[in-house]
């Protein structure tokens, strides 16, 4: 029998004003259980996409590292734990989150403190995604509260786990529509000793995507491949010093057909690619388009954006377009999806095929039967 919870007086009063900020998972569950209106679920509010209405429900109070075992490459932390705090703690042990979390504040023009739960809800993954996988690939466990106020756990703190259905993956990138995350667990990787950035200049978009494909298809472990039209085509390698030097030399030979390869020490440049700094301070809608890499140049030609940045070897296109442009109309049918990450109006998320949309609706109705979690987000 669950004990009745007592809350500080102001927890429910906040519903009328700024929002609610539970300090424990049990409080979070109780708030949702007794709710009579919709919630806008928020971590740090630094990577919101699309809009929905309701009382703000913040997870920032569910903060703190629960377990960090460097020798097991494992971290467990409250969903509201600030990303920056975790990154600092990992760096002190020479480790990191493998998927290179983008900082979207500059692009979205917002401030605030990114949280781990928000990172998971957005499946936020940077340039290293091409080699190390996305956030969902490093996420090994979750605890969350569903739309009825029930606490649910899935996965755990070990990296190989096939016990039951993988709801961990389902929660990654679900944008708070299936439940409110309270705790997340990650597999980590060591920070390499050093890194280098290899640069090709003057390539057309099509040539650049070919060069990136050639590099990513080589055994030299390229873990970043981006193209900034007009600026250059960038490849990243990381590892022990001698290995980085060896692979840089090999790649110079491997990519000789694409021109002279400049070798830049270090990887500082990649934060800018990760955070899409070329678009910072510029007006317009921002789109994020996930495609088969070799389709990218053709799609870019069709979309007539004001500016683009290719990441993931061409598999991810960032596009800056006139406000209100429906970029999907210009793209036509293509394999992949387009999300408007900045800009007003409905339709931020790509509409799904009828069969897939039916499954999505079914899952949301099960996990959030009253439709109170980020209702209206993700096209449902």
């Amino acid at each position: 029998m669950a004990k009745p919870l007592s809350f500080p007086e102001d927890i429910f009063e906040q519903e009328m004003g700024q929002g609610m900020r539970p300090e424990t998972e049990a409080e979070l569950a109780e708030i949702i259980r007794v709710a009579n209106g919709p919630f806008v679920v928020r971590g740090g509010g630094t990577r919101s996409v699309g809009a929905c209405e309701g009382a703000v429900l913040e997870t920032g109070g569910l903060s703190g590292v629960v377990l960090y075992e460097p020798g097991a490459l494992t971290l467990v932390a409250g969903a509201g734990t600030p990303l920056a705090q975790v990154e600092a703690q990992l760096a002190a042990e020479g480790q990191r989150l493998p998927f290179e979390v983008p900082d979207m504040r500059g692009l979205l023009g917002c401030s605030g403190e990114s949280t781990l739960g928000g990172v998971v809800a957005a499946n936020a993954s940077g340039p290293r995604r091409v080699q190390a996988g996305a956030c969902r690939d490093s996420l090994i466990g979750v605890r969350f509260v569903d739309g009825a106020g029930t606490v649910i756990k899935n996965g755990g703190r070990v990296m190989k786990n096939v016990t039951g259905y993988d709801l961990v993956k389902l929660m990654a990138g679900s944008w708070g529509t299936l439940g409110v995350l309270s705790e997340v667990s990650f597999k980590l990787l060591p920070v390499p000793e050093t890194g280098a950035t290899l640069i090709l200049r003057g390539l057309s978009d099509a040539q650049a995507v070919q060069a990136m494909a050639s590099a990513l298809g080589s055994p030299f472990e390229v873990n970043g491949a981006a193209h900034w039209p007009g600026e250059g085509t960038f490849l990243r390698i990381e590892g022990f010093a001698a290995s980085v030097a060896y692979r840089a030399a090999q790649l110079r030979r491997h990519l000789a057909a694409f021109g002279a390869l400049e070798i830049e020490e270090g990887t500082a440049r990649w934060a800018g690619i990760r955070d899409v700094t070329p678009f910072h301070g510029r007006n317009g809608d921002v789109w994020r388009i996930s495609v088969k890499p070799s389709d990218a140049p053709g799609l870019v030609a069709r979309m007539r954006a004001d500016a683009v940045l290719y990441d993931w070897g061409g598999g991810l296109i960032w596009a800056l377009a006139e406000p209100g442009t429906d970029l999907r109309a210009a793209l036509g049918a293509f394999e992949g999806h387009a999300t408007r990450v900045r800009g007003a109006g409905p339709g931020a998320f790509q509409p799904e095929s009828p069969g897939v949309a039916a499954l999505t609706r079914g899952l949301r109705a099960k996990f959030d039967p009253r439709g109170i979690l980020n209702s209206g987000l993700m096209g449902a």
């Binding site: 020479g94 786990n161 096939v162 039951g164 679900s174 899952l363």
Partner: protein, 477 residues
Amino acid sequence: MEMPAPNSLVLSAKPQIVARLRKVLPPDAVIEDAAETRAYECDALTAYRCPPLAVVLPRTTDEVSAVLRICHEEGVPVVPRGSGTSLAGGALPTADCVILGVARMTAVLETDYDNRFIRVQSGRTNLSVTGAVESDGFFYAPDPSSQLACAIAGNIAMNSGGAHCLKYGVTTNNLLGVTLVQMDGTVLEIGGAHMDAGGLDLLGVICGSEGQLGVVTEATLRILPKPEGARPVLVGFDSNEVAGECVSDIIKAGVLPVAIEFMDRPCIEATEAFAKAGYPDCEALLIIEVEGSAAEIDEQLALIKTIALRHNPVEFREAADEDQAKRIWLGRKSAFGAMGQINDYMCLDGTIPVSSLPYVLRRIAEMSKEIGLDVANVFHAGDGNMHPLILFDANKPGDLERCEALGADILRLCVEVGGCLTGEHGVGIEKRDLMGVQFAPDDLEAQLWVKDVFDPRWLLNPAKVFPLAVTASRRAA
């Protein structure tokens, strides 16, 4: 092992069901004769057997869709089957089910090196996926030890792993898209050659759902460029604890081997008697493999050597050439065969946090002594995926029962220290009734919702994964 009583209505409708299946499939693709269906009565968990009502072996997605539509209309349970290598009973039939085997769906549909993927029919074997791309310098990373025989369909159903997961991940990390046929025959494309999901990550929950959400007929798989080379070292220790500490120190030092395999004394002795690999006489040994160019391998192995020597190993053995490298792997690769020579065995698959390794090994040794059955341990130490082998004699009354009891106790121990029941084999029927050890009722209920949505009538592989009592009302509906 309890299985649900077969539906008598389905049993008595067999002639009609078979006739309808014959209308949508070629003559050789429907098997109903009792002598022939017997070949499908079990998978690699051979202790449990039951011939199915019928077996179908379709060749295309359209045929799979037609079969499922008929079974849906007739209310017939369907058990999907890859190559039947499940160690968990994932493909075990019930008497009222149709086995849907994908063994004839083996085609490579598309190979794309620029975008680094291959699209195959799901009956293709794991190793032959690599076989299709290796002459061009690529490979498919997940490498379950049954890879010569096991099908991609089964790999996706169980989210299979292998020895090289530490670096390359498991099936779910290497799967880009599937063609999924739902129980009512609806064909869906989920994912594809692009890298991530536009909406909910349905692919993520389909992978590892043990054939309960739909039948995967085609898969888009990530392929990777082959490393320039790989080389193992062997390190022997005089205690399990020290070997465990060495693993932890290597990982902390920032080296990321592609594999760290661990064998304990009972396992070393058994494989030595069988394969004569020349392993040292010691309590625990590690096989650590790294990849890269020759110089990169030298650098990583030098670092590993420095760390290992700090732990006073009984032996640190390097491979000067390909032949010596093979000898290092020889014992490990023949471990299961060696065990089979001396005994019947049950292979467990729990995962534990790497830090609990010494404690768990000590407890397993104590439990083994108490119950009077030997346990040999061989496992993927880098990721904590254990494979304790419990040795027993199937001809000795009571031995199997004692073995099952010890197995359950060991898996409970894995959960107790923060791990899980199964790291790569799947739940199937084998660990079905232990699910309550790892999950609270609400945790299980949330998983059942997913099946409710994908397969509302609960006809796909319905008696697996979850305790029968938990799913009874849904299966009966």
